[in-house]
Symmetry: C2
Subunit: 343 residues, 2 copies
């Protein structure tokens, strides 16, 4: 193993000088710098992470806590992980992956054993037992999502309330007067994962404002569940012409089932999907979406963590404004045949 002393010897300087060349924490003569940098390259020196952590109480590692549920939207999680990983690396940090199922104890463990400098946690539930733990910990933490009581933690998320409104008002502007929501799986609501409820608030509030009739159902991810969900929605409001799908996992099943029912998109029914933009073109119809900005969320989460690590305390809940992109799955409402209204 190549140590800092090896480098120092090769360059004919003291170990501390090598350390300062690397950290840039004091001025170094150009000549010394060149000498040291060359030795580093020549020897292929990489500082020992453990030794560094021990001496500096900085690991340069961020811990990311992710959900591993099957009923979960995999794409969102993956894109988010990607974004966090890339941003972290851009700031010379590495990523430690923690799975949610380990619960609060894992956070404790990671923080107390100095495995990471800061924690980023996805998929926060309303009354999440990990939140008080995070607060008790001495490390900076950033939440993706908004718990009932953020108690000083930094949060970042899509403004799901605004997103819900946006979906309804877009459809309302196109003349739709009966709209339904295919929501996340029942389990998501049961856990009180806040984005589900926040979206629903916006959805319903906007419905009142726009004077449209709305209904909604959670929806599990099996095809049968999707089919049953649509059955119920159409039954409760046969005049439905607009559908909002806030459940990435069932998107293609919803589209397939609408096809099976002979409902053409967007001629018979308009569909707005809440999902990452990267999914918009993978279906039979190019989808009008309200984007889940996975990339931005990841980047911001990392940058907020680093801000806090740098001592800048920002007790902030940052909600990102939704962006709706019109594509091929929404259109002006199609006046229905006379007969359908009076049967």
């Amino acid at each position: 193993m190549v140590t800092i002393t090896d480098v120092a010897n090769a360059a004919g300087v003291a170990p501390s000088t090598v350390s300062y060349v690397i950290s840039g924490k004091r001025s170094i003569s150009p000549k010394t710098r060149r000498l040291v940098e060359e030795s580093i390259r020549k020897l292929g020196y990489h500082p020992h992470a453990g030794a560094r952590a021990l001496a500096s109480s900085r690991t340069n590692v961020l811990a990311l806590v992710i959900p591993l549920r099957a009923d979960q939207n995999v794409t969102v999680v993956m894109e988010f992980v990607a974004s966090v990983a890339l941003t972290a690396r851009a700031h010379r940090h590495d990523l430690l992956l923690i799975t949610q199922d380990e619960g609060p104890a894992a956070l404790q463990r990671v923080a107390s054993s100095a495995l990471a400098d800061a924690l980023i946690m996805m998929d926060v539930e309303a009354d999440d037992p990990r939140v008080p733990m995070l607060v008790a910990l001495d490390r900076p933490a950033v939440l993706i999502g908004v718990p009932t009581a953020p108690t000083g933690l930094t949060c970042v998320d899509l403004d799901f309330t605004a997103a819900g409104s946006e979906c309804v008002s877009h459809l309302a502007k196109l003349g739709h007067r009966a709209i339904a929501l295919v929501g996340p799986s029942p389990a998501v609501y049961q856990r009180g994962t806040s984005y589900a409820t926040r979206f629903l608030w916006g959805f319903e509030a906007s419905a009142a404002d726009c004077g449209v009739r709305v209904s909604s159902r959670p929806c599990a991810h099996s095809y049968d569940a999707v089919s049953a969900c649509l059955d119920e929605l159409f039954e409760s409001d046969p005049a439905l012409t607009g559908l909002v799908v806030h459940n990435e996992a069932v998107l293609s099943a919803v589209l397939a089932d609408l096809g099976r029912r002979g409902r053409r998109i967007p001629a018979d029914i308009s569909v707005v999907a809440v999902c990452p933009d990267s999914m918009a073109e993978n279906h039979l119809v190019s989808l009008t979406t309200v984007a889940i900005p996975t990339g931005d969320l990841g980047t911001i989460a990392v940058e907020m963590s680093l801000e806090r690590l740098a001592g800048r305390v920002l007790t902030e809940t940052r909600l990102i404004a939704p962006k709706l992109t019109v594509r091929g799955s929404t259109a002006l409402v199609n006046p229905r045949p006379f007969s359908e209204y009076f049967r």
Copy 2:
């Protein structure tokens, strides 16, 4: 911060004794053990990971290198990550996530700076530049996938050749005589990711054996690409009655497009999907699959890494036998109307 000395003082023993209680590397009297364990609990002691790594040259961290491409099968990656994470934790190890785009240098960095004890790498390409790097490193490495020259590295993967055969022979047994393969995206073939070619070998070899006619096309993940791909396949062989889809990302698009063409599954066309079993029920039709055993692969990869860390050298390429599960998307070939054969 609670240190080992704090615990030692609280228990009235030497720090080394605490260390030995924790590691179990020498016998301890029941009384001392109880005393120490109590102090540990009471103080909430967690050993400092960096200090431990420095002293023992073990980090208890595994590095996992994953691909982040959009054209990639997200579900497979996620399930695999989950399995690796869980197995690692079960063996008291943590997981450091490395993204593939950082290339060979990242592996070098992680190994040389002692960030992890061993490396697990997914999505290995035939002539992967990271493989020689991995060989040069002093750390154990396990590959998911099989490069052209494993040069002593431990590899584990589904036996994709056998999987390809299995798909064909299942369909052949049902009487299908014209079968097509919707393959991974062209990019996967271009990169020489070996599972694609291995599957194709098995697919074509078995076709010869079973006396069936086969054709195949790679397929990108946009709906348009899927549609074009099916166009070509049906054009090159209008009598097609069996379809094998070795591309999880386009599965639902394929099914949707078959629907659009008026081909019923399995009445008009049988479909075998190569994907994790967890995806079998999410579609309009319950899918006959050859499972990608993400869970097993992850578990085995971790256990092999730990074996090598324990000094047991197993220069082994382990291929897992495919398992085909019959569900609702394959059926006995449907004799086509006379007219279709002669038009």
